[in-house]
């Protein structure tokens, strides 16, 4: 009961803080709402110089709403003649955007991932933004380490990234490790020991929201980087096969870990909220997610939350600092058939930068595509885990790709499906390798 009241308290506090945060944003909503209504009611003649740009963007949680609202407020200051009309991105594997493109309904500005960039550029549905990137000064402010997410492989810019490189972090609960006297695993051997100890004490070793296939891809990738620092990125590029030693071993390792009881029963049907709650309530010792979880983990577990380097495989000690995740080109793109494409490109660059500012200020995220103006300070100091990550960035020897950063959609679907399959006990690594290799063979044809 105590736990529950405490939890409720935390949630009410959180709610208040959210309400508090959003109170300054509510103005934004009002202004955008007002803008839309004026656009509707006023005859066009008086608003002749106003330009309305349609924008297709994510707008569903704090991580997407806060930056968007912030960007809209800022835009009104610097581009008083531009109004944005928001079309909210659906969680539909890109069905909506694809249909828009196929029927000539693409909005002026839209958010894209790598595989869509590739499809769209073949059919002339995405504008090359090289010039706009220069003229707006976006490139001058871009961080050198972000060039992998700005430039496409062909050397052009198709989208302005609005975040930065992201990483898969292996979180753990220090208190649980101390309580059961478990060493934070640095090697595979130690990981197995930890799994056993936690299982004996009815603690789930690692909670994972494996209902989502991108995180199972990340889990496999984490293990793949233990054997080959390029992880799944190498397979995506068609430079390796699943039957190669490193990837076969990774599959076997994941299978072993599943059998050793590293994950909860029914993990492949666990969603984010369920998995996160297990970790934050002390029922699970470890948790896998992107670095964007740092803020939430700090809020819930305080000093007990930390992240570790992935455990090392015997004989592959060199890969200790290879991380999964990383970035891929993507962000705000522009429709080349837009009536105001030059302006849209300018605005796309502008809001991408404003997103970065908002993420820096309100979302505790310093790893961004562009350098934030020095006058801008984060609302609250960065969490310790973020400081640690920022300090350790230079140690990272390599990164790979998130599922959405994979360039070959065929491979993406295969690794998503197969990695989730591998998380169930009766799926064999041999099946995994066979299915994946069939797809890789097809890719290379």
């Amino acid at each position: 009961m105590k736990k529950l009241t405490a939890l409720l308290l935390i949630f009410t506090l959180l709610l208040f803080s959210v309400v508090g945060c959003s109170s300054d944003n509510s103005k934004t909503e009002e202004t955008t709402a007002a803008a839309v209504t004026t656009a509707e009611t006023q005859p066009e003649s008086t608003e002749a110089e106003m330009v309305t740009l349609k924008i297709y963007a994510q707008y569903s949680d704090d991580d997407t709403k806060i930056p968007y609202d912030y960007a809209v407020v800022e835009l009104a200051k610097d581009y008083p003649n531009v109004k944005l009309e928001l079309d909210i991105q659906a969680q539909d594997d890109g069905v909506k955007l694809q249909t828009y493109a196929a029927t000539g309904n693409l909005p002026d500005i839209f958010q894209v991932g790598l595989s869509q960039i590739e499809t769209f550029k073949e059919s002339g549905n995405i504008m090359i933004l090289d010039d706009a990137a220069k003229s707006t000064g976006f490139l001058d402010r871009a961080v050198p380490s972000a060039s992998n997410i700005i430039y496409n492989e062909d050397g052009h810019i198709y989208a302005f990234p609005y975040a930065g490189n992201e990483l898969v972090l292996w979180y753990y609960n220090k208190a649980l490790f101390e309580q059961y006297n478990v060493k934070v695993p640095e090697t595979y051997e130690e990981l197995l020991t930890a799994i056993n100890t936690f299982n004996e004490n009815d603690i789930i070793p690692m909670s994972i929201f494996a209902k989502e296939k991108w995180i199972t891809t990340a889990m496999y990738d984490v293990l793949a980087t233990r054997f080959d620092s390029d992880g799944i990125a190498k397979l995506d590029a068609g430079k390796g096969k699943a039957s190669d030693e490193a990837y076969a071993k990774a599959a076997e390792t994941l299978n072993e870990l599943v059998k050793a009881g590293m994950f909860a029963d029914g993990a492949t049907n666990t969603n984010y909220d369920q998995a996160a709650s297990l970790f934050y309530e002390g029922k699970a010792a470890m948790f896998l997610n992107g670095q964007w979880e740092i803020q939430a983990a700090t809020d819930k577990l305080g000093e007990n939350a930390d992240w570790m380097w992935y455990p090392v495989m015997p004989g592959y000690e060199n890969n200790k600092f290879a991380l999964s995740g990383g970035g891929a080109p993507g962000g705000y793109a522009v429709n080349p058939k837009s009536e105001h494409k030059e302006l849209a490109a300018e605005v796309a660059a502008y809001i991408s930068e404003k997103y970065c500012e908002a993420k820096y200020m309100y979302r505790g995220n310093p790893i961004l595509a562009v350098k934030v103006n020095e006058s801008i300070k984060p609302e609250t100091p960065f969490p310790a885990m973020m400081e640690k990550l920022d300090n350790e960035l230079s140690n990272i020897t390599s990164t790979t790709k998130f599922a959405w950063g994979l360039g070959n959609p065929l491979f993406k679907v295969a690794i998503e499906d197969q990695s989730q399959f591998l998380m169930t006990e009766d799926y064999t690594p041999a099946e995994f390798i066979e299915e994946l290799d069939k797809v890789i063979e097809r890719m290379n044809q």
């Binding site: 069905v95 694809q98 499809t119 073949e122 989502e212 049907n269 993406k412 989730q420 998380m423």
Partner: protein, 295 residues
């Protein structure tokens, strides 16, 4: 009478609007499905013509057979469950002299009114391995039958089919009920005078008279099963892995996740053909006798 039923103008007025709307909005798109299934096409641009390569590839794809198998399992479960339950409940509601008949009639239809999203969320919760009602139920009655209902490659499809069967039973229930209501009461009275028990009366009167009703109930279940999608999309995303893929999900996954539109449409084309086969078979089975009400 012949002139009356052969009124050309009336036929035109009656059928043309439907035919126009249907041809433009449904039939033309279907032809596009078949046409584009012959292309290597990413959904944009014009693609390249590869004749039947997509189909040949389908027949070499394990996933295609798995999707088909799942579709048939799905169709079988929902057909049996829905027809059986709908018949029993519709007869009960229309004949039983009990208080609150209206209440039952409305209650049985409620799941249909709710959105699929809500229903799937509810069942996700019921099926949850950890705290789900189902596992708790087995625990309470002392059976060691805990399962990872949706996380098991062999059982997931059954678990999902139950959800669909349960939610849309109300559809068939309402149809059969409407059918029973349009049967004149005198038919039953005659049967009663002949000394038939209620069950016999229904077997002899309701069933044969509702032949057409049953025909399309069967049709909805079978085709609905073969083209199932939404439940797996929400509940498992075709998973774990690929174990709850259906043809529609495969089509969706190929077209929108892997950008292989042509391949996806080939799967959709097969799906349409399978449904067409189903309708032909069902029509054939039901054709054996002329309809009773006709004369």
């Amino acid at each position: 009478m012949k002139k009356f039923f052969g009124n050309k103008l009336a036929i035109l007025v009656f059928t043309l609007p439907t035919l126009i709307i249907f041809s433009l909005m449904v039939f033309y798109p279907i032809t596009q499905v078949f046409y584009k299934s012959l292309f290597k096409w990413n959904g944009l641009g014009s693609g390249s013509f590869i004749a039947f390569d997509n189909f040949l590839r389908l027949f070499d794809d394990k996933l295609f057979f798995l999707s088909n198998k799942n579709g048939f399992i799905f169709a079988a479960i929902i057909t049996v469950f829905q027809l059986l339950m709908a018949t029993v409940l519709a007869i009960a509601v229309s004949t039983l002299k009990m208080k609150g008949r209206n209440f039952f009639r409305i209650a049985y239809f409620i799941p249909v009114v709710l959105s699929v999203t809500v229903v799937c969320q509810l069942w996700l919760s019921i099926y949850n391995s950890d705290y789900g009602l189902l596992n708790r139920f087995f625990e309470t009655i002392g059976l060691d039958y805990r399962q990872n209902w949706l996380a098991d490659r062999k059982h997931a499809i059954y678990a999902i089919a139950i959800v669909n069967a349960w939610q849309w039973m109300g559809y068939q229930f309402a149809l059969i009920l409407a059918g029973i209501k349009s049967i004149p009461t005198s038919f039953y009275e005659a049967a009663q005078i002949d000394g038939a028990t209620p069950v016999q009366a229904h077997m002899k009167i309701t069933m044969p008279l509702l032949k057409e009703t049953y025909k399309f109930c069967l049709l909805i279940s079978v085709t609905g099963g073969i083209k199932a999608f939404t439940e797996m999309f929400i509940m498992t995303s075709g998973g774990p892995g690929t174990s709850s893929y259906t043809l529609t999900y495969m089509m969706y996954s190929s077209a929108f996740r892997s950008n292989e539109f042509g391949y996806g449409l080939a799967a959709a084309a097969i799906l349409v053909l399978e449904c067409l086969m189903a309708i032909l078979v069902i029509n054939f089975v039901f054709k054996s006798e002329p309809t009773v009400g006709g004369e």
